[in-house]
């Protein structure tokens, strides 16, 4: 893979070039936090961001998205799907979030492909960013094996101090880089520099899980009946923000809105959350997952068992956003380690019996 070098002082001009040709979206400050937003001025882009409140999935699956427009006033129904294809550069995506986007690509691409998501995705180039420091006390990317960039990026940037090392992941990435000036090929010194930065970064991240992620599906399956879920369910506020801030949650609801003629209007989808009361209610009123404990367990099973089984990708990328936002301090790391702790004595007893 070709490695390119861009002096940092050339970054603003590159961003301006991108902004002139694409919708440029990247991390910017919002009060004391960061959010992904359209970058109008190069100086607004904050590559030193820790994490964002919402993950970059909102660029590919907006919080609210019109999927159909209709007019039933004539003697035929006019129904038009709405696709969004603005050429977009999503700049500065952390590696965990890139893993999440790869999973979303699978979810919306398999079976019945979702052209609304796919159109956006096809028109979005992604520039990822190597994480050199843990973003918050809640992230556990190293344990989830998401601290390295996966395939799928168009460009991948590592901050080497005065210069940026840029890996090219696709032809589209190469096109993006053509908007930059002062780009040169990396020389031996640059490779050495990159190696040093990379080898220094790893010890800064700690393993947060007490076990290997390959054990997750079986650990979760064996933990189906544990009372851990009940005590978490007591505590859980059922507010659903763990879903909202999750980079892999993709559930949605669909709502119609009409104009006053009651005949024309639009159908849009909004993010939904499996932790909410009535997520599984049917029209007659029966709720098939009415307890918070069961809803919480479902969330964990979905991320750590069902998704790895279906897509060969773990449904949690260890970004830590849910733990950071949870008012009652429910953190996947704590929950998983607790489940593991409860499994260990059970396993060792079995072993003793076998011996």
């Amino acid at each position: 893979m070709t490695l390119k070098i861009l002096p940092k002082k050339a970054l603003p001009a590159w961003l301006d070039g991108l902004h002139a040709n694409y919708r440029l979206v990247g991390p910017r400050a919002k009060q004391e936090n960061f959010v992904f937003d359209v970058i109008q001025n190069a100086e607004d882009l904050r590559l030193d961001y820790n994490t964002t409140i919402l993950p970059p999935k909102k660029v590919l699956l907006p919080q609210q998205e019109t999927i159909l427009q209709f007019d039933t006033s004539k003697d035929f129904h006019q129904v038009e799907p709405v696709f969004e294809d603005t050429p977009t550069v999503l700049f500065g995506v952390h590696t965990c979030d890139m893993h999440a986007i790869n999973l979303m690509d699978q979810v919306f691409g398999q079976g019945y492909p979702d052209a609304h998501y796919q159109t956006r995705r096809q028109h979005t180039a992604i520039v990822t960013l190597e994480c050199l420091n843990p973003c918050t006390e809640f992230c556990f990317c190293k344990s989830m094996e998401t601290l390295s960039v996966p395939e799928g990026f168009d460009l991948h940037i590592t901050d080497l101090g005065n210069v940026l090392a840029i890996e090219i992941g696709s032809g589209q990435g190469l096109t993006l880089l053509q908007h930059a000036k002062m780009v040169r090929d990396a020389g031996p010194k640059d490779y050495q520099h990159l190696q040093d930065v990379m080898s220094e970064k790893w010890p800064r991240f700690a393993y947060q899980l007490d076990f290997d992620i390959t054990e997750l599906p079986s650990l979760i399956a064996l933990s189906y009946k544990t009372e851990v879920w009940d005590s978490l369910g007591d505590r859980c506020l059922g507010c659903g923000i763990c879903n909202v801030v999750c980079p892999t949650c993709n559930c949605f609801d669909v709502i119609d809105e009409v104009d006053f003629d009651l005949q024309s209007g639009s159908r849009y989808r909004i993010w939904d959350s499996c932790q909410l009361d009535r997520f599984c209610s049917v029209a007659g009123g029966h709720d098939f997952r009415s307890s918070r404990a069961n809803r919480l367990r479902h969330r964990f099973l979905h991320k750590f068992k069902y998704q790895p089984e279906t897509y060969k990708i773990v449904g949690c990328v260890g970004c830590g956003r849910c733990a950071q936002e949870c008012l009652v301090h429910i953190s996947p790391v704590d929950v998983l380690n607790e489940l593991y702790r409860r499994q260990v004595p059970f396993a060792s007893i079995e072993q003793e019996v076998l011996v």
């Binding site: 919002k30 919402l54 859980c236 506020l237 507010c239 659903g240 923000i241 909202v244």
Partner: protein, 254 residues
């Protein structure tokens, strides 16, 4: 002949802010006036016609004479919709419900306490059956408009049953608890677009409780953030006195 649905607005005990919001909403949606006939609206017009099919009721029921008036509206209207927190929940008026009525009366009316009729503040749904509600103090104008359209379609207004936290997070606000403030967002019904938290003010719960709220643990959260139990009760009692009283009864029973 004019077949437009005939709509009437009524006010009981409240500040009339929701009616003002209705008038406001017409500014952005003048089409409403083409879609319906408003036949009674004391806040906005002097004509009055008792032939209506949809009644919006603002304000809580605080006197026995209110009950008769409500029943009469119910008899006439095919659809009765509670408009705003007072009609929906009892509203701020219900703060008095946790105190002895006599002392409330003395506090408000002083020497003339005997002259005025008053009682506990009830949501109108406690007196007559209702077909839907537009929550909030005041109501959200866009939600009101959407609600009217649903009614014209023959359906109830679609009001979210998820908490304010969802809308707050969708707008990418930092959690107010993390900024040293107190907020009822986790147990309060959304639909306001998290208006107050987005402006840095903790949710006061004006839209009422979500179904099955975890009040116990929200109290723990508030205590963890330095709130005394008196402050917590006061916060939860501003709009939701009646609902909290009810949920406590349910807790004791179960």
């Amino acid at each position: 002949m004019n077949n437009k649905p005939r709509i009437a607005f009524f006010d009981f005990t409240g500040c009339e802010g929701c009616q003002l919001t209705v008038i406001d909403s017409l500014e952005n949606h003048p089409e409403l006036l083409e879609a319906v006939d408003i036949v009674q609206f004391r806040e906005a017009m002097s004509e009055k016609d008792d032939d209506f099919s949809i009644a919006f009721i603002e304000g809580s029921c605080t006197r026995s004479s209110d009950e008769k008036r409500l029943e009469k509206i119910r008899e006439q209207a095919a659809l009765v919709i509670a408009l705003g927190a007072c009609a929906h929940l009892g509203g701020v008026n219900a703060v008095r419900n946790i105190q002895p009525l006599e002392s409330v009366r003395r506090c408000v009316y002083g020497e003339k306490a005997e002259v005025y009729e008053t009682s506990i503040a009830k949501p109108i749904g406690d007196v007559i059956s209702i077909d839907g509600f537009i929550p909030g103090c005041p109501i959200d104008p866009e939600e009101f408009i959407r609600g009217v359209k649903r009614l014209l379609q023959g359906n109830r207004p679609l009001i979210p049953d998820y908490p304010v936290c969802i809308e707050c997070k969708l707008r990418e606000n930092a959690c107010l608890f993390q900024r040293g403030k107190v907020c009822l967002g986790p147990i309060t019904r959304a639909g306001c677009g998290a208006l107050c938290p987005s402006l840095g003010v903790g949710c006061e719960g004006c839209r009422g409780l979500i179904p099955n709220p975890n009040i116990t643990w929200l109290k723990e959260v508030m205590a963890e953030h330095g709130q005394s139990s008196e402050r917590i009760s006061a916060k939860m009692g501003l709009f939701m006195t009646n609902q909290i009283l009810e949920s406590e009864v349910i807790d004791v029973e179960s």
